[in-house]
Symmetry: D2
Subunit: 496 residues, 4 copies
C-alpha cells in the first residue's frame, strides 16, 4: 500500500513514524496511507522555508509571477489527472472536481498580477524636499492549514498569493485527501520554483501545533470548522503571529414572491446538492417569503430533484458523490432524522440511497425538508451534506432577522427581480458574501473571500486584494537628501 | 478641586466613585482629579455608541466627512487652549504641543478624504451578465486606548478615521493628562457630531478590561508599552475582536562616515530630546560607523547640546519640559546611573538639572552617553527620557545587525549621502518606519504608522490607508438579474 | 456704472479698452459692464501664472490642500453673498444658486484630498536591485473657459483640482454673469493662495484665442456648446496642448411601465424645469414605454406642474427664474412654436408668462409637450429652456435606440423598479452619465463628469479622478545604485 | 517571391494591387514583397472589427485575459522563429530581437491582469440610499500605427491592452519589416481570439489616412517620428478621435564626477549602440560634468568599444547589425561627417566598416564623437544610428539646461552615487522617463511609457496603467431604488 508523504525543500519524503488510512469514499475502501509529520519533520520544513527566504524575497516580483504563469499552464495540462485524484479520495464527480480546479487556477492567475498588486504608494514632497513611500514587504515563513472539502482549491487560495509576495510557505493540508494537494505542489516545482519556497507536510494536531508555536512562522491562514478556527486564531495571535481563520457556515437564500421561480429552483439545485453539500458556501436553507412562494418553491424543487443522481466519483453522469466518511454519512442522516422527529416535513428523502455496485460507499441522496423552524437542531448545525431545508416566513424582514440571528455569516442570497429589495438586503444583511439571484456568491479570484461573525476570525479576508495585504507588511520610508554637495561641485572627490 | 470626567452620549459626566490625581509635572503639584470609570459607566458608553450606530452608518460618507472639515477648523481655532491644557498636564512646551496638535489635525484632514477612501471595487461581467463589487462597511462599536505622551495626537490617529468610516467610538485615554483629550472630543460635538457616535471614558484597568470583554465592541486600537500591547492584543483577539496594538521602541540612527555631520547633529537634537524623549519615535541610540564618525558626532553633539534648556511648560523659550511623573524621572536617572556603572561615558549629564523656581518639577536634562554597548541595561530598555546613547561599530553591516537584533522594530534612520547605502538599508532593515537623513520618520497622515517585531501586534498599521481597512469590513456582492421580464414587456403589471 | 474687471497676479484690474453690458435677466436692465481682455491682458495673466509656477509646484501638496480647506470655509461663510450675485446676473433663484454653490464646494473638498490623489506607484525590484516609480507632476500654466449657466460651479470643477496639483491657472469665465466667479477667485486669495497662481480674465473670442495659441498654456478645459467645444478642442490640440472640451446635451429619461410614477413625476419636475432648464444635465425628453405609461405620465405631470412658479431671482418662493437673455427667450419660445406647428401637443404652455412687476424680464414658464417625434426640430436641438417633451414608444429597446441615435450622449435615466431592465440599460446605453431612478445623474465630486459622443471631446472627464490625471503628467523614474562603495567602506572620503 | 499580406477577420489576405519591396538589410537584397492596402481593404478590416465588437465587449474580462495567457505561452514557444523573422527584415541580432520580444511579452502579461485593471470605483450612499459607480467600458474599434524599429514589441504595447479591455483592433505596422508582426497576430488567433477582434493591414499613407478618417475608428495609437506624430495627432483629434502619438527623441546621460565610471561605460555601450542606435530610447548624447569626468569617460569608452562587432543578423556573436535602409546608412554617415566638419572630434569612427561577406549590407560601426556642441547639426537631429556624442559642460545645472532646451523629452539618465544629485535631477528635468544609473529607463510593462515636450502628443502614455485609461471610456452610474414596494409586500404581483 502506497504512502502519501511530504514535500520538503523540493524533495519528496515518504518515510514516516506514524501514518493514517486514506479512504475512497465511493467504495469505503482504504487504498493508501498518509504520513503524519512529527514536530521534527514540520520544523525541517520550516527551516527549509526560512533558508530559502532571503534569495526568494530579492527575486523580482515579475520573475516570481512568471513561475505562476507556468504553474497555471501545468495545472491546465494536468487537469484530468488532478481531478481523478480528487475524486478517488474525496468522492466528488469529475465535473465538480474540474470546477474546483478551475477556481483554484483562477487564484494562480491572480498571483500572476503580482507586479501590479505589490505597488507601493509614492508621495513626492511630503515636506519640503522630503519624499515618502511604502513598500509591501514579505513576512518570511507563512503557513496554511486546509480542509478536506477542496483539496485543490483552498490551498491555491493561499500559497500562490503568499509565495508571489516573496514569502516561503509550509502547507498542512487535510490528511483525508492529500494526493492532489501534494501533486499540485510538485507541479509548482516543475514550473521553476526554487527548493524550499513551498513545502507540504501532512499531519494532524502535532503538525498544526508545531506551526502555531514556532516563532519562525510569521502568519497562519486556516480554513475549516469554527471551533478549530477559533482555536487556531487564539493560539496563533497569542504567539504573536498574524492569523486569518475561516470557519463554518449556514447559508440562507431568501425566495421573494416576485422571484423568477424556475431560475431560483435551477440555481438552488447546484448550490444545495453540488459536492454533496460539503462546501462552506453550500446553500442549505431556503427562506420563502409567503406561503405562495414557499409552496411554489417546494413543489418545483421536488420535481427538479427527481432526476438527480448520487453515485461514485468515477461515473461522470452522476450529479454528486458520497460524503467524505462514514461518520459524516451518519451525521447527515441523523440531522434528517432529528428534523423529522422535531416536526419538519421530509419532502424528498435521501437517506440510504441505493447506489448499485457501491454498497460500501458513504452516500446520502439529495434531501428536501419543508417546514423547518429555527428551533430545530437541524437548523442550528452546519449539516455539510446534500440537504436543503425550507423555512417559511411572512415578510422579508423576518427572513433577514433569521439570517442575522445565526452565529455564522458566510454567504447568503436573495432571489427577486426588484432592485429595491436587493439593495436593502445587500446593504443591511450581516453576512460577508451576498448574492442577488446568485446562490453561491463566492467572490471571483480578484475580489476576496470571507464571512462575517463566527465564520471568520481576523481582519483580512482570503485571496484577492486582502490576501496581498495579509501576506505582506508595510514599510514606510521617509527620505531627505541634505545639502547639494556633489550637485554643486562643492565637495566631491573623484573616484580613483 | 475640579474633576475631569467622561463624555457619554454627548453629555459630560463628572460624578465618579473613584478618582485619581492629575499632576502638573512642571511643578509636581496636583490641581485636578480624574474620574475612573466603573464597568457600568463603560457599558453605558458602549450602549450609547451601539444605539447611535444604525443612523450613523447610513449617513453618507460625504456628510460624515463634512463634520471632520468643521472639526479641523475648530481645532485650529482652539489650538492655543489645547496646547496649554497639554502643557499643564503633560509638561511639554507649547511649540512641542503645537507640533503634536498639527500632526493630529493632519489625521483629521485625512478623515476628510473619506468619500475617496471608502470606494469599493466594481467588476462588470465577472461572469456572463454577472457583476460583483465590494463595500467597505463599518464594524459597529470600536474602542481606542491611548497613552499619556500624545494626549491630543494619538486619539486623533484613531477616532476620526473610525468615525468617518461609519463606526461609533469609545475612547479610553490616558488618565495622566486627560483634559485636552476630553476638550477635543467636545469640539467634535460642536462640529456637529450626533450624540453617541463618540464617547470618552477615563479610567484604569477596569475600564480597559470592560472594553476588551464586551461583545458589542468589535475592534480595539491601542498605543502604549509592549507588555500591555501584548496583553491587549491577546485578550481582544481571544474575544473575537480585531485588534491592533502598538508597543515600545528603541530607535537607532546609523551615522555613516560620509554623512553631512552638521545636518545629522542638528536633526538628532530634536529627535533625541524633543518632548523629553517621551515619544515612541524618539531617536535614542546613535550608531556611529567608524571611530572618526563617532568622535566627530560626539564632539559636535556635545557642543550643540550646550544651549539646550529644560524647564517648565509655561516658558516657551525652553526646549523641552519635565518627564511625566516622579517615577519616570527616577527611572531615567537610574538608566544613566547604570550605564555609567557598566562602563559607558556620560559625556553630557542631565541628571538633577537646576530649574530655577520649579524645584518640585520632574526634570531630567539632555544627556549624551558614549561607548554604550548592547550588553548594558540602558541599551536594552526603552528609557523614554532625554537620553541619547552612542554605540560605536566598525561597519554598516554591524550597525544593521545591532538594530535587527533588538526586540523592537519601530523606527530607524541612516545619515548618509550615498544612494546605494540608503537603498540597502531601507530595503533590508527589519524596522517598519525608516528614515534617510530623517531621524523621526513618522509617516505623514496619508501613509500609515506601524513598527515591526514587538513594536506592533496585528496586521494593519495605525492611521492612513491601513486605518481605513482596520475600521471597515469587506462585504462582497455578486449580482445577476435573471430573464428580461419587464424589459421585454413580458410580465409586468402596471402599478395602480 | 461699475465695471467687472480681471484678477491678475493677485490684483484687481478694472481698466479696459473694451467693455460689454451685463444684464439682470429678471428685469432686463443693465446695471454693470464687464471688461473684455485684450490679447496683451491675457498674456499678462499667463505671464503671472508662469512666474508663480516654480515655487508653487515645489510647495508640498498637503500645504496646497490646506489653502483649499480654508477656501471651502470662506465659500460657506460667503454663500449668501455669492448666491445673490449669481441671481442678479444669471437669474436663478437663491435655492438653486445655493445648490450650484454646494456642488462647487464639493469640488473644493475633493481638491483637499490632494495628498491622497497625487500618490504615485512605487515598484521595488523591477529588476535586480532596480526600483521604479511614477510621479504625477503638474503641467505648468493651464486654462479654463466656462459657460454662463453655472458661474460658480463650473469654474470650481476646474481650478481647485488644477491648482492643488501644482499648476497655475488662467480662467476665462462667461462674460454674461462674471461677478460671482470673480468674487470667488478673490476668496481663494483670501484663503492664502500666492499671487499669480490663479488669474481671471473676462473677455470674448480674443481672450479665448490668445489662450488657445499661447505656447505657455499647456492644457485647456472647456465647458459650453458643442460647436465651440469642437473648435476649442481642434485648435488646442493642433497647438500641441492637451484639451478636454465639454459640449451640448439632450438628456432623455425612459419611463418604464413598472416605474413608481409619482416618484418619477416628482423627480422630473426639478430635472426638467430647475434653473429654467439651462443645465447641460437638464432632463428635456421623457420617453414613455407604452401608451399607458405615457398617459399616466402626462396627466400626472400636468397636474404637478400647476403650482410651479416662474419669477424674479429675488423671490425665493419662485421655483425658477428667467432665461439668460432676450435672445434665449425667443429661441425657447420658437422651439415650442415649431413643435406645435409640426404636430406635437402643447399640454402645458409656458410661452409669455405673466410675471407681475417684472415685465422686462426674460421669462418662459414650464412647458410640457406631448407626442413629440424625433423628426421635429424641437427634438433635434438643445432647447436650453424649461420645456419637457414627451416621446411615446412601444418598447424599451425602441427608447434606447432613440437615445443612441442622438448626436449627444451626456446624461440619461431610466425609471423602473426592475433590476434587469436597469442593468441592461446602464450597460448598453451610449451615454456617459446614467441614472437609475435619478433624473440628473451628475456624478458626485469624487467621481468624474463627462458625456460620450459629441458631448465631450477628449479622453479624460471633468473633475474627480480624471481631473487629477488631466492636470498632471506622468514621469517615470527607474533607479539603480551601483557598487556598494560607501556601504562597504571601500571608497568614501570623510567630509572635512 | 512571396508577398506579406494582411490579416482581416481571422483570414490571411495576400492579393494586392500595390506592393513594395522588403529588404534584408544585412545583405541589401530583396526577398519579399509587402502588400499595400487600399482604402477598401482597410475599410474591410474596420468593418470586421466593428462586427466583432458587440460580442467581444460582452465577453467577461477574465475570459479575454485567458486568451492573453495562452498568447504569452505561444509567443514563448515560437520565440526563435519570431526572432529570425525580425532579424532578416530589420537586421537586429538574435539576442537583441529576443530582448525586444521579451519586452513585448511583458506587455501581454500586463494584459493578463485585466480583471484587476478594469475595476471601477463603487461608492455606497453618495446621497441617502443613492449609490454610484464607474465602469471603464471599451471604445469600439481602435487603431495602431507602428514603426519599423520594434516590429514585435511596439504593436504589443498596444493591442493586447486594447483588446483585453474589450475593443477590436486594426493594426497598420511598418511596411519595412512586416513578417514578425503578422505572424504574432496569427499566434493570437491560435490562442483563441475570435475572428475580427484583431486585424492587421500593411500599407502606406493611404492606409493611415483611412484609419484617421473613418468615423468607426474611435482611437489611434501611434509611434514614429515627431513630424508624423504631430500630423497623426492633429488629424485624428480634429476628426473627433482620441489619440496618443509618440515621436522622436534625443536622450542625454549626465556623467557626474562621482559616477562609478566603469559601470557607466559598461551601461552606455548597450544603450548607445544596441540595435544600432535605432531605438527611441537610445542614449545618444553623454554630457560629462567637468573635464576630468569627460576625459575619463572618453578614454574608457574608446577602449571598451574596441571589441564591439557590427555584422549580419544571422551571426549571434555580433553586437549589433545594420541600419534599416541604405538611406538610413547615408544619413548616419552624413551626421558623422558634419560633426567632424563642424569641429567635433571623431574618437572612434564607424563609417564604412568592413563586414566580411556582407558587402551589400547597410552597416555603420560604433562611433564615438567628443567635443560636440549644441550648435552642431549632429546634436540637433535624431541620428538613429550607432553614434554616441560627448558634450562637455562645467556644472550639473548646465547639463540639465541643455537637456531642457532640446525639443524632445523622451528619456534621460544621470550617473552618480549621490542621493541629492539624483533627486534634484529626477524632480526637475523636463523629460518623461528618467534613469538614475540606468541609461535606458524604459518603464516596465506595469508602468507607462511616454516622453514629454515634442516626444509625445496626447495626455495618456503608452502601455501600463495609462493604456487602460486610453482604451476605455468612463461611464458613471447613479442609482436609487424608490419606494420599498416588493420588500414590504405592498405592490407585487406573483409571476404566473
Amino acid at each position: 500500500m502506497s504512502t502519501v508523504g511530504h514535500l520538503i525543500n523540493g524533495e519528496s519524503i515518504t518515510t514516516a513514524e506514524r501514518t493514517q488510512d486514506v479512504f475512497n469514499p465511493s467504495t469505503g475502501e482504504v487504498n493508501k496511507q498518509v504520513a503524519l509529520a512529527s514536530k521534527e519533520t514540520v520544523e525541517e520544513a520550516i527551516a527549509a522555508a526560512q533558508a530559502a527566504f532571503p534569495e526568494w524575497r530579492n527575486t523580482p516580483a515579475a520573475k516570481r509571477a512568471r513561475i505562476m504563469f507556468r504553474f497555471k499552464q501545468l495545472l491546465e495540462e494536468n487537469a484530468d489527472k488532478i481531478c481523478a485524484m480528487i475524486g478517488e479520495e474525496h468522492g466528488k464527480i469529475s465535473h465538480d472536481a474540474a470546477g474546483e480546479l478551475t477556481r483554484g487556477i483562477e487564484n494562480v492567475e491572480y498571483a500572476c498580477y503580482a507586479p501590479e498588486l505589490l505597488k507601493g504608494e509614492y508621495s513626492k514632497n511630503v515636506g519640503p524636499e522630503i519624499d515618502s513611500w511604502s513598500e509591501m514587504q514579505p513576512l518570511g515563513v507563512v503557513a496554511g492549514i486546509t480542509p478536506f472539502n477542496f483539496p485543490a482549491m483552498v490551498p491555491l487560495w493561499m500559497y500562490p498569493a503568499a509565495i508571489v509576495c516573496g514569502n516561503c510557505f509550509v502547507l498542512k493540508p487535510s490528511e483525508r485527501d492529500p494526493s492532489s494537494t501534494l501533486f499540485i505542489a510538485e507541479l509548482l516545482h516543475e514550473a521553476g520554483l526554487p527548493a524550499g519556497v513551498m513545502n507540504v507536510v501532512n499531519g494532524d494536531k502535532e503538525a498544526v501545533d508545531t506551526l502555531l508555536e514556532d516563532t519562525r512562522v510569521k502568519a497562519v491562514s486556516f480554513v475549516g470548522s469554527t471551533p478549530i478556527a477559533e482555536y487556531i486564531y487564539t493560539t496563533a495571535t497569542s504567539n504573536g503571529k498574524r492569523c486569518q481563520a475561516l470557519g463554518g457556515a449556514k447559508n440562507h437564500a431568501i425566495i421573494m414572491p416576485d422571484a423568477d421561480m424556475d431560475n431560483a429552483v435551477n440555481q438552488l439545485l447546484g448550490a444545495a446538492f453540488g459536492s454533496s453539500g460539503e462546501r462552506c458556501m453550500a446553500l442549505s436553507v431556503a427562506v420563502a417569503v409567503g406561503d405562495a412562494a414557499a409552496d411554489a418553491l417546494v413543489s418545483k424543487m421536488k420535481e427538479a430533484m427527481q432526476p438527480l443522481k448520487v453515485g461514485a466519483f468515477s461515473d461522470s453522469s452522476n450529479d454528486f458523490g458520497p460524503v467524505i466518511t462514514e461518520a459524516a454519512q451518519h451525521k447527515v442522516n441523523g440531522c434528517i432524522d432529528s428534523a423529522e422527529a422535531q416536526g419538519a416535513t421530509v419532502v424528498v428523502d435521501g437517506r440510504n440511497p441505493d447506489v448499485a455496485g457501491f454498497a460500501g460507499g458513504f452516500f446520502v441522496g439529495a434531501t428536501l425538508i419543508d417546514n423547518v423552524t429555527p428551533e430545530m437542531d437541524s437548523y442550528k448545525e452546519e449539516i455539510f451534506g446534500p440537504v436543503l431545508q425550507v423555512v417559511r416566513v411572512d415578510t422579508m424582514q423576518e427572513a433577514m432577522d433569521l439570517i442575522d440571528a445565526h452565529e455564522y455569516g458566510n454567504g447568503t442570497c436573495i432571489f427577486t427581480r426588484d432592485g429595491e429589495a436587493a439593495r436593502y438586503f445587500t446593504d443591511n444583511i450581516q453576512v460577508g458574501m451576498v448574492g442577488v439571484n446568485v446562490p453561491l456568491p463566492v467572490p471571483v479570484s480578484y475580489h476576496s473571500f470571507g464571512g462575517w461573525k463566527r465564520s471568520l476570525f481576523g481582519d483580512l479576508h482570503a485571496y484577492g486584494p486582502d490576501a496581498i495585504k495579509f501576506y505582506t507588511r508595510r514599510k514606510t520610508i521617509t527620505q531627505r537628501w541634505p545639502s547639494a554637495g556633489v550637485r554643486e561641485g562643492v565637495s566631491f572627490s573623484f573616484p580613483s
